[in-house]
Structure formats: C-alpha cells, structure tokens
C-alpha cells in the first residue's frame, strides 16, 4: 500500500505541491493524471525519494520513506522511467541485472529471476541479449518493467509508460500492460497525462492541478460527479475529435 499524506513542497518560493493526499491499496492500480505543470512529475520524484519535501509523509506498507536508506527505499519501488530509461551502454539483460548485481545477488539467482520475469512480460531470450538501441519501443518497455520488478518491489511506479509509442503499438501494449500488472499482483502507480490510458489501466484516478489534488475516484465518478469544473474541462479537452463530432 502506498500512502502520500499532506505533502507540501515549495521550489524557489513557489508552492508546487499543496496538501497532496493519495492512497493506493495493495494490489490496486492507480493513475496520477494532470497536465504539464500540474506537479505530477514533482510528486513522482518525491515518491522516489529523489527530492526532499517540506511537510507530510510518504509511506509504503506503513513504513515511512525517511526511515530508509536511499538504496533500501529504491528496492521497495520498481521504477519504470519515461520511454523505459534503459542505459544505452548496457545490454537489455545487463540493464535488468544491474541493481541485483550491485546488491550482491549470485548469478544463478539473477538468471532464475530474469527467466521468470522474461516469461511474464513475454520477451524473447534473443531480445534480452540486445542493446537498447536495437530494441523496439514495446521491447524497451518490457525490459524496463523486468528491470523494475527484479528486486520484487512493493510498488511499481511508471512514468508516462506509453508516451513515446506509436498509437497502434500503444493500444496493444496497454492491453498487455494490464495483464502484466495482474500477473505481477503489485501495487501500481502510473503517472500519465492521457485520460484514456488512465481509465483503461487504473481502477482509481487522481487528477492533479497546480500542485493540488482536484479529485480522486473512478473514471465514472470523475465523469458523472466532477468535484470541480476543472475536472470536466480536463475530460472534455481529452475527448477525441471523433467524439466531439458524434456529440455534435
């Protein structure tokens, strides 16, 4: 379970996060959504422990961020950066095994874990031997998810997982991500600006605007009972042109 409680953060005299509360129950998938400048990237960095915050708590399974060393905290979160964020100088399998190697895992244990996750994300063994620049966008995402899941974290954190993919691949990977999440059985937080993606992947959605939580709830709740005109505005802005034509 991920809990963000009363998070405040100022950056150069500017209030970038104000009283942010967010709760993701164990095993649930939650989407953090907002336009650029809404503070979602800042909140992501706070959650990862990369930047300090002024007030509040970040907890995973009731254990606070500040009671962990950076590496111990990092091992509790499986982080999938934008576009996968694979290190270009390491092969896919070296990317995946980087952290466990640094943590002193033995080779057989690493190999076993890689094989387990490879099957889970349905990646070929050959692709694992390649370098990032030789992989397709979808393959990179799968490798990045494997890397994130290696240390068996309590939370998976994905930053704009689909942003760089072309629409067709996006569609099929969304379906697949959903089943991967189910198979992993982890608590998942997805940061995205795409409402459709959020609605498809997550049970709950939190809309962030100018550093404040505007509304948390299911897609239906956001649609039918907007807490603020901003919610409706955000939803309408994301409706496709085709929808707009139909409504007219």
């Amino acid at each position: 379970m991920l809990e963000l409680q009363n998070i405040y953060k100022t950056f150069q005299d500017r209030q970038v996060l104000t009283d942010v509360n967010l709760k993701v129950p164990t095993g649930a998938t939650h989407a953090l959504i907002g336009a650029s400048g809404s503070g979602k990237t800042t909140l992501l960095r706070v959650t990862l422990g990369l930047i300090p915050f002024d007030k509040g708590y970040v907890k995973i399974n009731d254990q606070a961020l500040l009671s962990f060393s950076p590496s111990a905290w990092a091992d509790r979160i499986g982080y999938v950066p934008q576009e996968g964020g694979l290190f270009p100088h390491l092969s896919a399998s070296d990317n995946v095994s980087l952290v466990p190697r640094l943590r002193g895992w033995k080779k057989p244990k690493i190999a076993e874990r890689i094989e387990q996750l490879r099957e889970l994300v349905e990646l070929t063994t050959r692709a694992l031997g390649r370098f990032p620049q030789e992989l397709s966008g979808g393959q990179k995402q799968r490798v990045a998810i494997m890397r994130a899941a290696m240390m068996d974290p309590q939370l998976m954190l994905l930053d704009e997982p689909m942003a760089a993919l072309d629409p067709l691949i996006r569609r099929s990977l969304q379906t697949e991500l959903k089943s991967i999440f189910q198979r992993l059985g982890k608590t998942v937080l997805i940061v995205t600006h795409d409402l459709g993606e959020a609605a498809f992947l997550a049970e709950q959605i939190t809309l962030l605007h100018l550093g404040r939580v505007i509304q948390s709830g299911t897609y239906r709740q956001l649609l039918d009972h907007p807490a603020d005109p901003l919610v409706t505005a955000f939803i309408n802005a994301q409706r496709t042109l085709a929808d707009a034509v139909q409504v007219a």
């Binding site: 950076p70 270009p88 100088h89 620049q133």
Partner: protein, 507 residues
Amino acid sequence: MRFRAPWLMPALLMPTLLLPALGHAADRIVVGSKVFTEGFVLGEIAAQAIEADSTATVERKLGMGNTGILFEALSSGAIDVYSDYTGTLSEAILKQPDLKSIADIRAALEKMDLVMSEPLGFNDTYALAVKESFAEKNDLHTISDLARIETSISAGFSYEFMDRKDGYAGLTERYRLHFDPQRVNRMEHSLSFQAIDDGAVNLIDLYSTDAKIEKSKLRVLKDNRGYFPVYQAVWVARREFTQSHPREWQTLRKLEGSISEQAMVAMNAQADIEHQSYAKIASQFLGSDAPRAQSWQAGILQRTREHLWLVGLSLLFSVLVGIPLGLAAVRFPTAGQAILIISAVIQTVPSLALLCVLIPVFGVGTKPALAALCLYSLLPVVLNTFTGVRTVDPSHLENARAFGLTRPQILFRIVLPLASPTVLAGIKNATIVSIGTATLAALVGAGGYGAPIVSGLSLNDVPTILTGAIPAALMALIAYGLFELLGRLLIPKGLREQSKIAQPGPR
C-alpha cells in the same frame, strides 16, 4: 564482447608501454655531447675508447644541447663525462673570463666537484684564413704577415666577428693592421667560404677546426701575438666518476694531446662534408677496425624504448590526473573553468619555451621532458573528460539515483562508461600529441626519436633526420591503430555508433 570498465584501460595499456624501459645495466657510463659536429665526434671517440678498454656499458647521450644543458647534466649526474673548451668553461660556466691557465680553471672546477683533463691537443678558437695559393703567393704564415698587404687585401668577416669586443676591433689594434674599410665586407658566415672559393675575398674569419678548411684549401694564419682566447678541448667529468671508474678515466686521459687541429679538421670534414657516421670516424681515429657503435637497428630500438618511456609515463600521468581533473571540472563549475583555461593556456606555450622554463626546476634529461609532455597531454584528456561527462543525458543520472545507485556506482557504472568514447578519444589525442612532442625531448638530452632529428638538423643530413622522423610517424600510426582496437574492447557496444571526438585546437 561484454563491457569492461574504462578505468581498466590505463592498467591494460601502461605495463606494455613501460616494460621496455625497465632493466638498467648496473655498471653504466653516460657520455654526453653538445649539439654540433665536433661535440658528436669527440663524444663518440670517448664512448668507443671506454668501450674498448672497459666492461662497463656506455650510454651515449650525444647532441644533448648547448653548454648550459651539458653542464647541468654533468652536475646532476645525468651524464658522467663530456668534452668542452677551456675558454667556454671560464667564460660560460665559471663566469671568470680572466681565468686563462689550465691550472686555474681546473682549480675552480675542483670546487664544483668536477675534474678536467689536460688539453686533447687542438684549439678551437677564432682564426683568420686565406687560400693556400694566396698564402704561397704572398708568403703569409702569421697574422702579422698581413701587414704587408693590409691596404690591398679584401676580407669577408662574419657579423659576430665584426661586432665582438674580442673580434675585429681588438685584432686590428693588437696587430696594428690598417685594412681598407672599403675592402672589409660583413657577410653571413656560411657565405664567406663561397666568397673566398670564388676569389671575391682573400681573407675570412673562421673557427680553427672548421671542416671547410680542408675542402676549401685554406691556410689558417698563426695567431703569433696570442690575441684570440684559447679554446683548448678537454674532457670534463664528475669527480665521483673519476673515483669510481679510475680505469675508464685513465683511458680518456690517454687521449690527451693526441688530437691535433689538422686531425680534428679532418674528422669534422668527414662528418660534415663526406657524411660519414660519427661511429666510423671515431673508430678510424682510435685505430679500431670495425666501428663498435650500435647497429642502426639497435639504435632505433634504444630510441624506441626511450620514446615509449616518455610517451607512456606522460600518458599515465595525463590519465591518472586528467580524468579526475575533468570530473572535478564538471562537479565544481567555477574551479572547472579555471582548470580548463589553465590547461588550454599550457597548450599554447611553445614546446621549446616550456622546456626552458622547466630546466631550472627539473634539470636536464628525462625529467623536464616528461614534465612538459605531461602538461601537454593533460588538455585533451581533461577537456574530453569534461565534455564527455557533461554531455551524459541527465535523465540517466536521475534514473540511476532512483534505482538506489550510490555516487561512486553512478560514476563508475553509468557516467564513465557513457562518457568513455569521448574520454578515450581524448587519451588517443594526447598520445598522438605526445609522440610528436616527445621528439623535442632530445633538445634537453632525454633521447628518443628526437635525437637523430636534432643531430641530423645540425649536420643538415636528411637521412639521419628520417631515422628519427619515420619511426616517430610509425609509432603515431601504431598508437592510432591500438586505440581503435582498445575502443572496440572498452567502449560499450551500445555506444559505438555515436562515439564522438572533442578535438582540442591544433598547436
């Protein structure tokens, strides 16, 4: 090929470079010489004489530089013995031009723990010369004899001779000569031989052992009033050497009084005009059959060793110091700018000027040369490390932190590998620059491929120059090839396509 850490690179590279420089013979005598023909010939004679009589290994450091450098080398123990001239010793070394007698000069040198031999037999000083035929016709033997034809003779004197206090003015006063000013021509020294050959002038100034005396069939007029300072050739050695190697010092002393002016002129001519090797000239003089000098292959091998030693050590320095400096420049931007500016400024200092500045600090020989090379090879490494690290995508650094990597882990696992193509290009650059610049090391007596280049330049002997220049160029090519291979081993495969080179400006 799996990626190997880039910090292994120097470790892999250096032992191979340094290996040949190890292993010095226990009993070793180092003979030095100045960088002109007579110096080379005398140095070779000393070396061969010792080799014939002794079991010690003789190392030749011939053509090290001018008087100052040789003296410094002798004082510091970089060489054991070399030949110099009494006049030079009293004027340039002891700074007491009034010291004239052998005994006085010897006593002054004693105080500096140096030992001087008796004169070798010839005096290399200023002299006046006329054509042999002209001398016969006018019955000229001494400078005084010139008085008989003082108004009719036309002279070609060098600028230096005309301007020195102990030159033309003093000479005419001492001998009460009254040349016709219209007939005294100032001319470039090398042209005066042509002028006297052509009959344009009848009288010229020269050094008394000049190689061209024989070729131009000149008669050197006797300085019957002892006007010109005496420049008797002598051996100068460290006292420590004469005590630890009495036998070898005796061998050299047996040569006292054995080299006449004519003999020296002939040997200079063999070198300058007939382009014979110093080794051959020396062995002919000593009466040994075969020149005992090293074969040219052995010579090249030794110079290769010296050159590799210089390049390898300076490279090791530039890697061990340059990479941390480059990293520091990224970490501390203000100090970083200073680091980059200073290493760029060093790069613009002409090599010779830098060597001159370093001699008072490091003396002569390998040390100042190494110091200069280290300084020169620093910029490419610092600059490329700085550029390479600065251009690493910051998102990789943030991701690495998010994965819980520590600072050193981020540096060694992420930053340096990502920057390795650029850093390696910098090291490659430093190596090539260093191989080229190391040829200048010969000017301060550090040997290497520069040695034949320097002596070839002094002899105007292109083949000798090439025996240094060609191997240096080959070494640069081989280094280039080795770095291409190293790149394949060290640069992660995923980065190879995008390998980039930050070039420092040409110097």
